[in-house]
Symmetry: C2
Subunit: 314 residues, 2 copies
């Protein structure tokens, strides 16, 4: 596997599609996954194991997972809302299960109808289930903290709460902590405060960032998180995304723009930008009505641009 | 005058309108200037003293300048391409004249048909003319460096060149140095490199940043420049803007989003965000065909948002 400085993970098939009313056909999802994997994105959250009656977009979770698992070298991840979802993921053979709870009490209630302590207990059960599996079958388990930088119901969220639940998920056995700005409230000062606190609290456990660009600060927040040592970022191709339970939330940060900025900064992502930009056509064709974002797709690379890999080699 | 942490300066009436094919009526320009001044933007680049046959949008430079000068407390700035433009500005009573040259040789040739050394000589003549005026009539003189973070003809631009011309403009008598990413090539690493070098080279002279958001990195670059100590930022309402001689360049960073990010970071700008957002309606009405950008205008402020001033007072 190619050595990278920063891991970028595609979440558009889950976060980007979950509020989109049109079902994206399974073959198109798999074409997207295959093309983005070929462009160098090594980890993709391909679906969510929520009940299809809650989010019909994920009615094909089984087929998408099985299809994605056939792509060599791809880390196939999926969102899990609870133990039942985790069990589905294990049965299918998903390699990473991304559990998510909200740091904000109100948002956690609205999103999963649980007290936060109940969500932590759920996570412990999930980890116990996974650890009881034979080693070869065990998926990685991500511990995600939604609304860690603000909540559309409660406003600012206490840093102490973020640290508390990060530590609880870490102690419960998460393989990484994902700190999410679900509704796009964060600024670089907040990001530095929260990520420094979480990183200090969870020791050597990797901490990933999941930003939305709702208020234009997405890439500024990436830059701030990089300064704190974060080297794992979620993004969605063309900035698709949102949260059905967070009014006003719009897309994730744009994968294409993220990869450009990181590469321009001299950080190798393993992603070939031109191949990545071509993947947008798959989405555009499959979902002509979806709102697509992205500055690099419009403006193109700078004149005489030399990518980070080549600059380093020179 | 209100104490601010960061000075934001509107450049949309110049940089935003210069490539727009539709003439914005003078009364509408003045309504925009008055409303944005009332919203708390203390410095506005209201026009450019280029020959109207070059850029017809600025055919009303005299009327706009005179009208803007009637607005109490507003620092009325204007772009000057050369000594003749500076003389027009002085005659009109503009309070700040923003000279601009390109660090990239090719871009300077295309933009003002001068070698860079000739541009520096022009600037010296402008400063000499201004210094010969009675003190009460002397405008401030800004020394702007275009393409300081990349050139659409030459690609990457040498940091040594940026520093060389910054020092030459500083020694010639500039009241501030404006480092501009004219074509939106910059990333936060470049920004830190270039601004640290320029700030170290020009001593106590203020260094301002002028970023375009062409490739999505505009606010990330602001955050990086803030870390270097920059406290003066150009922006345009709704991200209007571009450069007629820089293919692919799109808008300046969005004033509204900039003000939100700075305020969210705890930095007082003196700008009332809700009043600022209302100014967009003036532009929308006057120029229905212009492309307007902005995340805050779409998403609104975060729930229970408390501005920096009030947080500090609390």
């Amino acid at each position: 596997m190619k050595q990278v400085d920063v891991m970028v993970r595609e979440v558009g098939l889950r976060d980007g599609l979950q509020i989109h009313p049109t079902f994206m056909p399974t073959e198109q999802k798999l074409a997207w996954i295959a093309a983005e994997s070929a462009a160098g994105v090594a980890e993709i959250e391909v679906t969510s194991y929520v009940p299809p009656k809650l989010i019909p977009q994920f009615a094909d979770a089984e087929a998408v997972t099985r299809g994605a698992l056939e792509i060599p070298g791809l880390l196939v991840a999926a969102l899990i809302p609870n133990l039942r979802g985790a069990e589905r993921g294990v049965t299918l053979g998903a390699r990473k299960l991304n559990f998510v709870m909200s740091v904000s009490r109100t948002h956690n209630q609205k999103n999963v109808r649980r007290e936060r302590e109940e969500s932590v207990a759920d996570f412990k059960n999930i980890v116990a289930m996974v650890r009881a599996l034979p080693a070869a079958q065990r998926p990685l388990v991500g511990g995600g903290l939604s609304t860690a930088l603000g909540c559309s119901y409660e406003g600012r969220v206490s840093v102490d709460d973020v640290v508390r639940y990060a530590v609880q998920l870490a102690e419960a056995g998460a393989d990484e902590i994902v700190v999410a700005d679900t509704v796009g409230y964060a600024d670089p000062v907040q990001v530095r405060t929260v990520f420094k606190a979480v990183i200090a609290a969870v020791g050597t456990l990797p901490v990933a960032a999941h930003f939305h660009d709702t208020r234009g600060t997405g890439l500024a927040n990436v830059s701030a998180a990089l300064e704190c040592g974060v080297r794992r970022f979620d993004a969605s191709l063309a900035g698709l995304g949102g949260c059905p339970f967070a009014p006003g939330a719009s897309g994730n940060i744009v994968m294409d723009d993220l990869c450009f900025m990181l590469d321009s900064m001299g950080l190798v992502t393993g992603v070939d930008l031109e191949s990545l930009l071509k993947v947008r056509e798959i989405v555009r064709t499959a979902l002509p009505d979806i709102e697509m974002h992205g500055a690099i797709a419009r403006a193109g690379l700078p004149q005489n641009y030399v990518n980070a890999d080549a600059r380093r080699a020179a």
